[in-house]
Subunit: 299 residues, 2 copies
């Protein structure tokens, strides 16, 4: 089953204690698609400028990502520049140039409109809603967000949440949205806002899944070398949605396994700058790491 | 198999966002023994002053803790005053009055000297070593420490580590001891210092166990209400050592289950001030929570 992803394709300049990457391929839709393509076909909707390097288009194509929904517009591609300290959480944003992404008004191609699995990456909730308006019969809709929208477009975000099945957000977003310090309480509160499945991502500390009045507490995979955490959340979402779309179910067992697949995909994302590692692994690398994860966490 | 614990018995005054407890029963040996007594007999070695309330002595006795090693000395009992913020990590110490604990020079009673399981709670590593000198045939020795000793008695701590089997420490202590930001690398480095079993406690984020070149990553139990995190680490150690002593093995399966038992005991410690909750639970409460933990984490 195809997954439609709507989000950003960007050029990232990233500094970490281990080095620097300049104008590297990035963006939420990029990380999501690189991850979910291992499990399911992906239709990408995003916008880039005329300056977007052809080599990156070729990379997308090589991975088999459907680019009918990628608009190439007069102007420059969205650029983000950030820096991470030793703890690898909360990067310092040095510069954001939205460029063509500032007027992102996604038009869903006719051939995409009947897709059943939808991931609305972190963009303005009004735009996320406009995307949903164009989908004829969505079966499973997931969305992400960020603190900026919680603070500045709360009303629209709350409206959107009534229309989505799955809400993925990180720890600080969950706390801010609910004004609640305890994540168990926060997760339950979010469940009352609409989504029947909630995932709170805790970065290096794993993730929590709330569904059917049950909670699943997934530990994080331990890595000896983290080089660049950019895109980990979207890569997680890609693995999660990809797995669900592949197994065509979303009962408790499927959801828990989807969280594990999301976690594992995210570990590959952070092992090198940009998408270097994600674009070099094979299905067998994923299987091996899932096996290792079971070994690491079973008791 | 009896466990010998050497540590502090104190009177704590604690403020958290949920309330305050004054001159409440506390101390590392207190929390450890309240936890391990569920699994194994406990022999406690500590010192208190003449002002130590008789009701607390009665509480120890009621729980079946062997108090032959508890010295009641002329002077005042060790007092600690601290305050926790909303994140419940790193309490602010408002006052520390060591009182009789300042000259703690534990004499191990003759009847304790042949004990096989020993827990050296967080005290000066020179004192921890002196305790070990008095034990005739220890089978499994565990110790804890704190940043202060890492900074001020590093040499003695390193000497001690060559004599212990199990080293329990928290995340920041592991990083400081090894000068290493990555916990996997830190755990492996500590393994080279002597202990064959290392547990890095990550507070609300669970614990890591390093043994036999393997790592076990235990998630934390999720609680909706945390009232007072004081003593969580010593309670964890009590459940961990108690379980090992009860099952008389320390292979991989036993060690992993011991970590789970430690985690579960710690959840009870933090659900109320001082030892209120720990002193009110039954073995059946522990079993139920372990079952719930499996449900929460299985995939």
């Amino acid at each position: 089953m195809s997954i439609l992803v709507v989000g950003s394709v960007a050029l990232d300049t990233i500094k970490t204690p281990f080095g620097k990457a300049e104008e590297a391929l990035g963006g939420s839709a990029t990380y999501f698609s690189a991850s979910s393509i291992f499990f399911s076909p992906v239709q990408l909707v995003a916008v880039v400028g005329k300056d977007f390097p052809k080599k990156y288009i070729a990379l997308f194509k090589k991975r088999g990502i459907d680019l009918q929904g990628l608009t190439i517009k007069e102007g420059k591609t969205f650029r983000w520049e950030g820096e991470y300290g030793w703890d690898f959480s909360n990067p310092k944003t040095i510069a954001t140039h939205l460029n063509v992404f500032a007027e992102f008004n996604p038009k869903i191609p006719e051939t995409y409109k009947n897709c059943e699995y939808v991931f609305l990456a972190n963009v303005d909730p009004q735009i996320q809603a406009k995307v949903l308006d164009q989908i004829t019969k969505p079966r499973l809709v997931a969305c992400d967000t960020m603190n900026y929208w919680i603070e500045n477009k709360r009303e629209y975000l709350l409206k959107l949440l009534k229309r989505v099945d799955i809400f993925l957000l990180n720890e600080s977003e969950a706390k801010e949205l609910t004004q609640e310090a305890n994540l168990v309480v926060a997760g339950k509160k979010i469940g009352k806002l609409g989504p029947k499945i909630i995932i709170i991502k805790k970065g290096e500390h794993g993730a929590l899944l709330f569904s059917e009045n049950r909670i699943f507490c997934a530990p994080a995979f331990l890595l000896e070398s983290v080089y660049d955490p950019t895109g980990a959340g979207d890569t997680f979402a890609g693995g999660f949605m990809g797995y669900l779309s592949k197994c065509k179910k979303y009962n408790q067992a499927a959801l828990r396994n989807a969280v594990i697949h999301g976690t594992i995909m995210a570990t590959f994302a952070v092992e090198d700058f940009s998408l270097k590692r994600l674009y070099s692994i094979t299905a067998s690398d994923i299987d091996k790491r899932i096996k290792k994860f079971r070994e690491l966490t079973s008791f």
